[in-house]
Symmetry: D2
Subunit: 349 residues, 4 copies
């Protein structure tokens, strides 16, 4: 049994990690570190887990963690990860981090986007971007994983086959995406209260959302050149789920592609993937088909009048967009079957 601890266990990503790992046949939850709930049973914080996970939350004690854990997952704000992760690694513990801190190949991008100085370029050089569909080999032997953001996972997987095959013009990419409210985490403010969000819909971070740079990094790598994209996120009144509607012009020479040609590129690209479902011609993802699962669903249309593709990709922002992907990565790092403990379908109803 792989002993796994979680730092930041009482946030929503932590909750999802505990929920999934409590059903995982090859892991054992060790320490649940929480700043606010030290000494409290986890199931008193989240009563849904009564009888399932009654571990007592503890404070942060790195040497204690190191002793009792084979792997630690951190679900902390960006700054906090920075302090703790190097210590964990020094103690020989593998780490999967959910912050943006180690997601950028180039620490200067992090500094530009998130502010401050990074200060750990050496560690950054070791970190692997935890998207198994693109970096499976590197993940196998990594000690430090930067788990991707939810919008990036949804967007990059929707575009990767087209970029690799040079079917689209990368500079034409425009992404309009929608997230459920859980993406913002456990929030103690009026703006995230029920009365402010129920039945509401809005764009936010218009032209300024920080995930833009993360998407651009990976899209540029796939395209083999620097790419700038247009990205607009929206907030919709549901708890979980994410859907990206992605637009891109067919590249020169590909104008005559049929939709089936395009779908063939996708199915080939993802033929060995367990969590990517390419939908048949004429069908598109819906949030309800993925929420509660680790799947990402992708559907495509061609707008023949504009020689443009419309790609729709959807996932559960808390699973394939966060905790589920972390467990997928954990499985790879631990040499387990990648789908272990993750093959639950969406709760469509």
């Amino acid at each position: 049994m792989l002993k796994v601890s979680i730092i930041g266990a009482t946030g929503y990503v932590g909750l999802e990690l505990v929920r999934i790992l409590s059903m995982h046949p090859e892991t054992e939850l060790s320490k649940l570190v929480s700043q606010s709930y030290v000494g409290k049973k986890y199931s008193d914080v989240y009563p849904s887990l009564r009888g399932v996970c009654d571990i007592e939350c503890c404070g942060l004690d790195i040497s204690e963690l190191a002793k009792s854990s084979d792997l630690v997952i951190t679900a902390l704000p960006h700054g906090a990860s920075k302090e703790i992760i190097p210590e964990l690694l020094k103690h020989g513990v593998k780490v999967i981090d959910h912050s943006a801190y180690f997601r950028y190949r180039n620490t200067s991008t992090y500094e530009t986007v998130y502010g401050g100085t990074h200060g750990q370029p050496d560690l950054q050089a070791e970190a692997v971007y935890g998207l198994p569909e693109l970096y499976r080999e590197q993940i196998k032997n990594a000690n430090l994983i930067a788990n991707p953001g939810c919008y990036p996972t949804c967007s990059i997987l929707g575009l990767a086959p087209l970029l690799k095959s040079k079917t689209i013009n990368p500079s034409s990419i425009l992404i309009s995406a929608v997230s459920g409210v859980s993406g913002a985490g456990r929030q103690e403010n009026v703006a995230h209260s029920f009365c402010e969000l129920e039945s509401n819909f809005k764009a936010y971070g218009v032209t300024t959302h920080r995930h833009t740079s993360e998407i651009e990094q990976e899209i540029s790598a796939l395209a083999g050149k620097d790419v700038i994209i247009s990205f607009t996120p929206h907030l919709a009144p549901f708890k979980r789920g994410m859907l990206a509607t992605i637009h891109a012009d067919l590249a020169e020479g590909f104008e005559k592609c049929s939709l089936d040609d395009i779908l063939y590129i996708y199915t080939e690209f993802y033929k060995n993937e367990n969590f990517v479902r390419v939908l048949p011609n004429g069908t598109f993802p819906e949030v309800k088909y993925v929420v509660g699962s680790n799947f990402v669903d992708i559907g495509v249309a061609i707008d023949k009048r504009l020689n443009r593709l419309v790609i729709v990709s959807a996932l559960d922002n808390m699973l394939k967009g966060a905790a589920g992907q972390a467990v997928q990565v954990l499985n790879i790092m631990a040499g387990l079957n990648e789908t272990t403990g993750l093959m639950f379908p969406a709760m469509q109803l």
Copy 2:
């Protein structure tokens, strides 16, 4: 034009007061007092009101308020009303208060239920409970109105005809009620965040909710004797609306009443009321039929096996349960037609 000011204008009751009064043909909004938003335009706090109410919020200055207002509506926490209202009254301004402070005939009940000492029994003696269907005459000449709570309004109006006519046994009353989330006001805490409440349902304040005593006071007055009731409130995942399912045994001698007999008692009792709608035999209220209106809808069934009535009453907790009732009371106090500015139907869709 009646000049009306609001203290606590940027809470949700304040928002509803501003929204309704901005459409009211006989009132003029004067001062909007807000602790948190002094100097900010009201429509910057609530952008729905851009172009409708762009008044700048101001701090509390009682003599200034008195000069510029014929009537002040306070929508403040219980303690705060206590300090401010006597001052306003001294300046000759009429007040409609939304706190529980002046709702109890007996200040000792307030002290038992809300804690602390009341300290203003004389003022209490002058205060009128602002339920027009029961206290219209007293409201006409009152200087100080204690606007009823939402659960009490919904419950009392559902029971008044039966209690007055002694059709039911008062000691058998059991109320199971449901409120939308706005009843808790504008909340800055995790427990009221979207992710905690969406798709959730729970009982709260089980056996301990403070509105119980307010309902009991009015029910006892109607019954002509002290009555203890069972009251359990629940929280449902919608923003506005309230529904009470009320159970009471038919009194001795009334066991043979038909449902039409009972409905006749209701329609007679409310025949001159504009905002109480007694539903026909076989039909029951739904929250969507009243939300956005000042109506309270009442439907009744007889459980012949148990000689028991089931009364269902519904209203919009922000309107007939708070701001709408305040404006109804204001109309009466100002000698206007009671329905002025209030005859908008529910937004059923």
Copy 3:
């Protein structure tokens, strides 16, 4: 591997059965019978199951079913079960039925409540009411299970310990319950459309709901005498989940019971149960703590002024209230560990 087929597989209970059983380690889905979708892949009807259950739906062929199934679960309207089940049993297949058809000890009760003539009193005599917490021993050897209704499961489990211990007066029981919309099944009518139900709340079946008689049957059995109850169901704007607020007077001689005494009765009664969670003093169930799980949560308060208990019980109407309970029963019938494939916690978020 136990071969399981489902008749009525494309309704919502069918969907939940397929979802759960596709993760169950000891069963194999055999035939998915559907009237409307013969020849269509299950995952085309419910795309959430793409890659998880791609079985082709088939029409009803009882001898074919009998050959390929050890156990059949029927999720059909009441009338339909009546025709099919006797045939299945004749072929030696065990059956778990979701209709009300075999739930009544006395077929005349069925006839009174659901209309028509029952016509199969012999089969009825063999049928076992599939509530494991009360009928586990009988279930072990049963060939025909009548799976309980959702309201009955929620209500009976909330009351059983009190009735068995004679702590309450059975004739005082009053249940006010709330269900999510999925309880009505997959509906093709305006009344169940999104625009009619979202943000709405209503009572329905006031004094007439058919589950009343089912609850009364089991409560009477527990009380050892005929009991009539008051039961009012409500419809709330969420997809899944159910919460019953149950009121009952303490029996003579138990007025001095403390809440801890009462909770002790519950914890003793349910000490060997895996799916009943008795909550600590002062805490109450919420729908979000059980939705997505097979748990039923129970919390209790005493209203000392009235010598009355308020019991709150909650479950997922699609799981412990339907498909989950069916799988629990299946596990018992098959001699498996009762929790096999069912220990997933609620998806609280």
Copy 4:
């Protein structure tokens, strides 16, 4: 008093028309024509209107309608309008139609998009597209108004100032829009049931939505040349409201425009409009700020890296997107103040 009748009164657009017109000080509801509810009181179909509109629904009798109405609003499927409207006009009654039938300058566009033959090019030539912000003068004297679609209203108003001023390159326009469920009308099918839509989100009509052609017609007129756009609608889990996120490249020569320059173009263009609110620099529309009102809110950002504007516009699809706009048009046709009966703010809460 202007006598107004509605054909198709019991659909959702009809409901909104009845609701608004029942509060309108200068109109009188005359006939409410409904195929399904002849002889039934309107308030029995929509109980929210009990005591507000208790008119009995009637069948279609054109000469009767003509006698009792100065103006008729039709809220019918496309085909039905076709038959009825010419008859009404022959009887000298003015008509505002909600179908797409008379929206196209060129009947062949209608035929291509909606199928069939149009057959009434002469009537089409007289029809005016009922968007007051663009066609106010023509509306004043029109006998037949084709009320615009909701997506077109939201999109065209978001783009008109930029197209008129040639600030953007029309061929770069890409619109990603979101509608609430009421946009599909009163639906009797599983796909629109609560359980299928709650907490769900999806794209639909990808590359094929019929409103695309309507938007293109008006955008081409504004641009002075034929324009093809990309338009993708989405369905979100709320009842009312619509938000369009519109992308367009700055035209050559305008790359140095500041956001304030752009906003100046908007505020100048809409300076005399009562229902268009241009939001200040840095603020964006949200659905909750417009739902329940006839306002359309518009906010803009510049993506400097791409020389591209992101325009967000929002409205209530049932009001400015349908019934509210019809009443605005009615006011203009009747020579009333355009805002009569329409200045209610959104119900933000």
